[in-house]
């Protein structure tokens, strides 16, 4: 049985990349248009990287691949991310 966690599990990996806590940020799904905090995404962790999917339509919103000396981040499935100052 494969399982997923919520978007809070992304906090550690993304804290290396962003100044603010991105899991609290709102993101817009590039597929269905749902706008919700990143923390509400479904995140698959038993994979070669972290895979965050839209809670409404399953579209891949973001991926994080940790190579050891690099972090390769994709936010390609998000049409916009709202970061609070």
């Amino acid at each position: 049985m494969t399982h997923h966690l919520d978007g809070n599990v992304l906090a550690g990996a993304l804290s290396e990349v962003f100044r603010s806590d991105v899991t609290a940020a709102r993101g817009r799904c590039g597929g269905c248009g749902r706008t919700a905090p990143i923390a509400e995404a479904m995140v698959w962790t038993d994979a070669p990287g972290l895979v965050a999917r839209c809670a409404s339509c399953d579209r891949v919103l973001a991926t994080v691949v940790d190579t050891g000396d690099r972090v390769i981040l994709s936010l390609a499935g998000l049409s916009a991310v709202e970061l609070r100052r």
């Binding site: 049985m1 494969t2 698959w44 038993d46 994979a47 070669p48 990287g49 895979v51 999917r53 399953d58 891949v60 991926t63 691949v65 190579t67 690099r70 390769i72 994709s74 390609a76």
Partner: protein, 197 residues
């Protein structure tokens, strides 16, 4: 300053020559998944190869099996550092599947139920190097392991052996699939440790 005699505390365990660099032997079969597990009944399952003309070559489950299912014993190497040796599979050779498919294109994109994709050069799928696997460890492939059918390309890292296989599309260029877009190597040879970009 201490002086350590080489070999004093026993020989370092020799590396298993069948394990590529950076791999650890496991006896179980870890489940890796990038999304929900599709549940596909063999009665509904269909496999398609799309060539450059846009023509589809289709096989139902029974038509696929009728091409001939063979026993395959191979080693599996996952990019997340585990390997299994002498794993027993059954499946249909892609040589049989491609017997009546004409294409000038040299690359293939594998597509899965659920939307996963991975790219493989055509030559890596032919000449006895790849199968559509329908059984493993003595039974039908569980959905969590990619059943009813998955690609089996054991000489490349296991992310290339796409679970829930539904089709192959011929490509003129080696376009990246899912993990290949997101940081993993375009080819993925475990003996060269081709893990990432």
């Amino acid at each position: 300053m201490s002086f350590v005699t080489r070999g004093f505390s026993g020989r370092r365990r020799e590396a298993d020559p069948r394990l590529p660099p950076g791999q650890t032997l496991v006896q179980d079969w870890p489940v890796l998944s990038a999304g929900p597990t599709p549940q596909v009944d063999t009665a509904d399952w269909e496999f398609t190869i799309r060539d450059e003309t846009g023509a589809d070559h289709r096989w139902s489950w029974d038509e696929l099996l009728a091409l001939g299912v063979e026993d395959v014993t191979v080693d599996i190497h996952c990019v997340t550092h585990w390997s299994r040796l002498d794993m027993a599979w059954r499946g249909v050779s892609l040589d049989k599947v491609f017997e009546n498919v004409e294409s000038e294109h040299e690359y293939v994109m594998a597509h899965s139920y659920g939307g996963y994709t991975t790219n493989v050069p055509l030559e890596d799928l032919l000449d006895g190097k790849a199968w559509i696997a329908t059984e493993a460890d003595g039974g039908p492939l569980d959905p969590e392991h990619g059943g009813p059918a998955r690609l089996l390309v054991p000489h490349l890292y296991f992310w290339k052996s796409a679970k829930w296989l539904r089709g192959l599309t011929m490509m003129p260029d080696n376009d990246p699939g899912f993990w290949e877009q997101y940081g993993y190597h375009l080819y993925g040879d475990p003996w060269k440790e081709e893990r990432y970009w």
